[in-house]
Structure formats: structure tokens, C-alpha cells
Symmetry: C2
Subunit: 195 residues, 2 copies
């Protein structure tokens, strides 16, 4: 899993992050202790502290890492020189594919944000705004050029973002278990939302 780099960036920090993602995904943030997390690695709780000062610090590192990775995936998928419908399709596909591929990480990132300190929370919500802004810029560009038929840009952008984020809740299902195929289907859904 390559989701970018963050604070506490070392092989040990990476192992702790992965163990924490598993623990939070299974028992929730409030239901997991740093001891339970380090125990998964046969590590003492004190061995974590050089890398992460607290459980909240660990959650923040995971959230930062996840949000950076999503934002990078969307920006990589967007070629501003392409026709606007292709841009939308490509970005939405990348968004949905990422949420499917990293659904366990994404769930932690989505559902445990309220546990962050106010300062950390503000940093993460700024990254979320940047992520939504990638989609919003494309929808607005399509509306401005007359290629998209959109009455309310905010509502269409909300629908697209919400659809992609929610993938991590249900993926995989009986119908969808291939992240790329899901991404393609969601690209077509997004096209319907703007035409």
C-alpha cells in the first residue's frame, strides 16, 4: 500500500500506522488503546512514543496520510488540457477507485475525524476542501463553457463527493469487488449528473 509519507516516517512508524488502522477499523478509535495497537506488533506501548506521542497523534498521521493520498490521486488524474467531460470522468474514477482500494484506511479516515484535536481537525478539513475543490473546478468549468447542464454546482459537487466517499463504507459488495471497474462505473454516473 503506497499512500504517501507523513510524520513519523520510518519503517517502524509505518508498521505502527498499519496496526492502528486495523485496530481502529475493528474496534473504533475510542475502543482501541495504544497498548492494543502495539501488542499487535509484539511491541511495548513505550516503543511507540518516539514515533507518535499519543493515540490522537497516530490518528492524525493516518488521516494526514490518507487525505494527502486522495488529493494526489485526484490531481494526478486531472489533465486540465483534456475536454471537461473526460476530466470529470477521470477524476471521479480515480476518487472512487482510491476509496475502494484503501477502504479500510478510508473508513478510519472518514469516521473518526471527530476524535482529532481542533488544530489537527482544521488541517484535515482544509485538505478535504482542496479535494472537493478539484471536482468543483471541473464542474464549474463545464458549466461555464456550456458543456455541462448544471443548475446547482454545489449540489452536484456534493453528490459526486458523497458518492465517492461512501464507497469505503460498503466496498466490496456482491456486484462490485474490483476497484477499477467500480471507478469506471462511477465515472459514468458522474457523467449523468452533469448532462
Amino acid at each position: 500500500m503506497t499512500t504517501g509519507t507523513t510524520v513519523g516516517d520510518s519503517a517502524a512508524a509505518d508498521r505502527i500506522r498499519r496496526a492502528a488502522i486495523e485496530a481502529f477499523a475493528e474496534s473504533g478509535y475510542a475502543g482501541s488503546s495504544t497498548r492494543q495497537i502495539t501488542k499487535r506488533l509484539n511491541m511495548s506501548a513505550t516503543a511507540m512514543y518516539p514515533h507518535f506521542r499519543s493515540k490522537e497523534d497516530l490518528l492524525y498521521a493516518i488521516a494526514l496520510d490518507g487525505h494527502r493520498a486522495v488529493l494526489a490521486a485526484l490531481r494526478d488524474a486531472d489533465d486540465p488540457a483534456s475536454p471537461v467531460l473526460d476530466r470529470l470522468t477521470s477524476v471521479v474514477s480515480a476518487f472512487a477507485t482510491w476509496q475502494a482500494e484503501f477502504h479500510q484506511l478510508a473508513r478510519v479516515v472518514q469516521y473518526e475525524l471527530a476524535a482529532l484535536t481542533p488544530v489537527h481537525y482544521r488541517t484535515i478539513t482544509a485538505m478535504r476542501r482542496d479535494t472537493v475543490a478539484v471536482v468543483a473546478a471541473i464542474v464549474q468549468a463545464g458549466k461555464d463553457s456550456g458543456e455541462f447542464s448544471v443548475d446547482d454546482v454545489d449540489d452536484v459537487v456534493l453528490a459526486i463527493s458523497s458518492l465517492c466517499v461512501d464507497v469505503c463504507r460498503w466496498f466490496p459488495s456482491k456486484i462490485h469487488d474490483d476497484p477499477r471497474r467500480l471507478g469506471a462505473a462511477y465515472g459514468r454516473i458522474a457523467q449523468r449528473l452533469v448532462r
Copy 2:
């Protein structure tokens, strides 16, 4: 809040359910003890047992109650004698409005299902299938009559259900804080998905 009736149906049981929804919403299911829940009501943990045998029993009662209420809201909103686009609009509006109005309950219901026993989980997933089936029947009817232009019924139904369910994660937001106005916006989004 009227969300229907369930097991442990009395004023005391209802108060315990509400306290549990608040506790689970704040600290997660794994992060809340029955003692913490009853303490919110100045009640001893043993006073809960005539109503709910365990924390899982309480979660099941909440999930059953929530899923019954959603299903009833969708069925109430659907008039099979109406034109199929009106049916879709009405059902999706009701679905999104419910998720917005009862977002705290809905979050518990959506995110803590994995904590149910296998038997309880199966009962709840059957109710979820019935809920999705209300939407699916309308999309299929519109496709069959040629009024909807839908290539893949499953993907459109997935998108509509996912959009509505995800409302509880983010509602309220800066743009949307009125459940009925949100419902109307989502009705229009659903129309875009089938035309």
C-alpha cells in the same frame, strides 16, 4: 423523534435507547459500556436488563427501529399509481430527508452493524435489501416503460442508495441544514441519474 416501535417497547426502554444512541454516536459502540449508557440516565446498569439483555441487544433494538423507520418512510412516499419519475423523486426525497433528520441515529445504525451477532446482522441486512428494493423496483419500472434511460439498473440503484445513506455522515453542512430542502435537492439529483 418517532422512529417506530421495537423490542423493549416502553418509556424506560425508549429512554435507554436514546441514551445509547448518544453514547454510540460520541464514543462508538466499542467505546461505550452499558454502565456509561445507564449513567446518563442516573440509572444502575442492572436496571437496563429487564429491557435489554446486553449492549448488543440494545444496538440491535436501535438498528431494528432505525431500519423499520426508513423502510416505512420509503413505502409511505411511494404511490405506485403515480408516474414513475414522480415516484422516484418522492422516494429519494423521503430517503434523504430521513437520513438528515435522524442523522445521529442513522450514523450508529450505518457504522456499527459489524458489532451485531450473525443472526441479528442477517435480520438487519434483509431489511436493508427490502429498502433498496423499493428504489430498485421504481428504477426497473422506469427502464421497462422506456421512461428512464438506464444502462445498468444495479449501478444507478447503488448510486441512489449510497447518496442517501451518506447524508447521515456529513449532515448538516454549511450548504444544507434543512432536511426537507436537502430531500428536494436529492430528488432532482436522482432524476438526473435516470434521464
